[in-house]
Amino acid sequence: MSLILQKIVKEFTTHDRKHMRAVDNITLNLQDGKFHTLLGPSGCGKTTLLRMIAGFEQPTSGDIIFAGKRLNELPPQERGFSMVFRSYALFPHMNVIENISYGLKIKKLPKAEIVSRVEKAINMLSLHGQEEKHPNQMSGGQQQRVALARAMVMEPKIILFDEPLSNLDAKLRLHMRAQIRALQQRLGITAIYVTHDQEEAMAISDQIIVLNKGRVEQAGSPQEVYRKPATEFVANFIGGANIITTRALGRVKFSLLGEEYDFIEDHIPGHATGTGKAIIRPEAIHLDRENGRHSAKIENVTFLGSRINYVLSCHGVELHADVPWNGREEIFAAGTTVHFDIDSTSLHFVN
């Protein structure tokens, strides 16, 4: 029952009659029961891809296959994939009950079943006491829950989310994202979720698909895309990254910021002969006043409460370091020279 996207291309004609490739040859296998997130900056094609899955857009070429059947020509109303829209898209002339039960009525389910399913959805999303309200009488968070209930009540084969939390304030966003994840896991439903927020993607997903300029940069678990970004783009987009050029010294050593390091097995695939690009996460840099293989000058200090961000300069390269702070560690002032070590097992190379 997995959803397979095969060589999907979507071209739009722009106003000046040029062709713009929004989605460029994407092939993906989205496993049943998992939470998949399409992540990328605006214009990367993530929403277009989602809308093609929902049936609102037709791929220019390529196939969308679900449970062995090709869906391309199937109109949206026959796909059985419920969607939660960015603007919620609640019907303004219907109250909560009418909104939630709309799709069930279209399906012509027996009344008793509609009532019990709606009841269940209302329970699940704690919408008690809101049943008679119209969307314009509700807060954004409540509207969001109604939209979620309306999608869930259909017991869809796949549930689609188009940046559903982007219109909520920060606190509510955290709460809703936990609720969405919990519901998805409880119901064991397949979810495809679009967002540009990398933290949200990591918090919620089984699989993150990082998109850029209509192409897949990497697909993998949140840990994979963070620990082993496949490209420089992924490394930059997810978390902070120092991307440093390295040079191989024979087969067993390489030089990084003027010091020699031993290759470990993890490093080798990414390191081209000659030079390579190493990703150093800011938290992999350990600062110390006296000890450490490298030395650097502190250029800038930002105090964030539980952490401190430093900008260092080392061999003419700018480095970002992110250091936890629990009230006892020394805070280095700008201009001082410090030493640091890089945890070499956390190093990762990209092409």
Partner: protein, 551 residues
């Protein structure tokens, strides 16, 4: 929002403005109406409800009332249906020839009010070309006459469906396409989406346009004056009572019968219906686009638009054609003698029309903007009074206003009858509402802090208005100007009561041509008016466009 704690000091400029505007509204809007009411309940100087008891008993009054209401109701429904189809096709589908349909649906707005009736007579009148050449040979001579209910019904539907079109285009455009997708995503097909989402969301717009067309049809004077035949309607009967029988009280009573349903419809539309509308614009970016229609739907909807369009084109086409041929229906040789003839006969009234409209238009525009600014931004005693009485003229049928002006300005202390001033005043107060409305909308959208910044830098209220508000609301100002110019050039119902030998108007001359069966001359004169109005609109559009670029 006005803060109540912040009491303003006495402001002489504001006080003077208020004095003139409130005084003007009282004198030129409310007082004439009050006199109509008074005349309708006065008999030989004493109070008498005789007219109203007569109304209940006498078919002389009851029939026109019933006829007007019936005609208004069916025209309102038919016009709304046609306007709905046009608006739906234009906004919600990808049907071909959209531009043509938009033009056809908005063109009748700028044409003189009786041009359609004129065309109907040329085509379907007793000697109408289509009647003689096609209908009678096919169906015999026993056809319903163009004069009467059916003729009026078709002509008014064609004349007023643009109102519904404009209202509903706004309504459809405000429906977020994502709602259609949401319905489809929930399993609804195209028809179900329309039935369950689009149609219910457009109901307030439908009711609104029904009421607006109802008001317009009740107030229509030009078409029924030409076409009503034995089907008597209030607007024309009231006019005939006064100008034909010199029965002012009777005319006033008929005018009251006309006024009451119009006002009810107006207040329902404005203060009840406007609150019911569903605002679906979320103000957030929506990646959704209107779905493509299938070939079959396109063809069906295209046909639905094409039929009324063909009728509109046929009617306007015959007026254009008729203005250029020697003898309509008999001798089709090209000639422009009707134009020279019309200009010969009606040159004075045309130049009067132009002059008076040119004087009234800028005054209307400025007064409209000042009223809009005061109502939206200042708090003062009588604010609601100002807003309601300024907007009231929108709902009051021209005939009622005309009768009111006769009653009010025929005698000292305001002896204005026969002067240019009365016509200019009538133009100003009748045409201000649209400018006020668009001005209010524009000013509400202005961030208040812009004005506060101006005040903070030391500018007074007038300077702020002139240097800051006016330039920013210029597009609204010019569209108000355009509207009032068009109305001044094409209106007939109210001004027909106040024109005189010295000051006559082009529309009244056209009516004279029609009454004397100079149909070709009337057509030529209509075309001249359309041309003048189009040029004026084009100029205003250019000005607005320029300003838009500079902002």
């Amino acid at each position: 929002m006005q803060s109540t704690s912040q009491k303003r000091k006495f402001d002489p400029v504001l006080a003077a403005l208020l004095f003139f505007i409130l005084g003007g509204l009282s004198l030129f809007v409310l007082w004439p109406l009050a006199l109509v009411l008074k005349a309708s309940v006065t008999s030989e100087g004493a109070f008498s409800a005789a007219r109203y008891t007569e109304i209940l008993a006498n078919s002389q009054y009851a029939a026109p009332l019933w006829n007007s209401l019936k005609l208004g109701a069916v025209v309102a429904v038919a016009g709304t249906v046609v306007g709905y189809v046009f608006a739906y096709v234009l906004v919600m589908t990808s049907a071909p020839f959209k531009r043509v349909f938009r033009f056809i649906a908005t063109f009748p707005i700028i044409s003189p009010p009786f041009i359609v009736a004129l065309a109907a007579i040329m085509l379907f009148g007793v000697n109408g070309v289509l009647r003689k050449e096609f209908l009678e040979p096919l169906f015999g001579t026993n056809l319903p006459s163009v004069y009467g209910f059916w003729g009026l019904f078709v002509v008014e539907t064609i004349t007023y469906f643009p109102t519904a079109f404009l209202v509903l285009v706004g309504v459809f455009a405000a429906i977020d396409p994502v709602l259609e997708e949401a319905a489809q995503n929930q399993g609804a097909g195209k028809f179900q989406t329309f039935r369950d989402v689009i149609f219910p969301l457009s109901i307030p717009g439908i009711l609104s346009s029904v009421l607006l067309i109802f008001i317009e049809s009740l107030a229509d004077f030009g078409n029924p004056l030409i076409l009503s035949g034995d089907y008597k309607v209030l607007a024309v009967e009231a006019y005939l009572k006064i100008t034909g029988e010199y029965d002012t009280a009777g005319g006033a009573a008929l005018a009251m019968l006309l006024l009451v349903p119009s006002l009810i419809a107006f207040f329902v539309q404005r203060y009840w219906l406007e609150k019911k509308s569903y605002v679906t614009l979320s103000g957030k970016p929506s990646s959704s686009r209107r779905p493509q229609s299938t070939w079959l739907t396109k063809a069906a909807l295209f046909t639905l638009c094409a039929i009324p369009s063909a009728v509109v084109l046929l009617l306007y086409g015959s007026v254009i054609y008729g203005s250029f041929v020697q003898t309509w229906g008999a001798d089709n040789t090209f000639t422009y003698t009707h134009y020279t003839g019309a200009l010969n006969d009606a040159w004075d009234s045309l130049s009067d029309s132009l002059l008076l409209a040119a004087i009234a238009t800028p005054i209307t525009g400025i007064i409209g903007m000042i009223i809009a600014y005061l109502v939206v931004r200042r708090s003062f005693v009588g604010r609601t009074f100002m807003e309601v009485s300024a907007m009231l003229t929108f709902a009051v049928p021209g005939t009622v206003v005309g009768i009111g002006y006769i009653l009010a300005f025929n005698d000292r202390p305001f002896l204005l009858t026969g002067t240019a001033v009365i016509i200019i005043l009538l133009f100003i107060f009748r045409n201000a509402p649209v400018g006020i409305q668009s001005g209010m909308t524009a000013i509400r959208q202005l961030d208040r802090s812009i004005e506060e910044a101006s005040a903070n830098l030391g500018a007074g209220m007038l300077t702020t208005f002139r240097k800051i508000v006016l330039p920013l609301v210029a597009p609204a100002f010019f569209s108000g100007l355009a509207y009032s110019f068009v109305r001044s050039m094409t209106a007939v119902s109210a001004v027909i009561f106040v024109v005189s030998g010295t000051w006559n108007l082009a529309t009244v001359s056209i009516l004279g041509f029609v009454e004397n069966s100079y149909l070709s001359k009337a057509s030529a004169m209509c075309m001249i008016l359309v041309a003048i109005v189009s040029v004026a609109l084009g100029l205003m559009q250019t000005v607005v466009h320029r300003m838009g670029v500079n902002r």
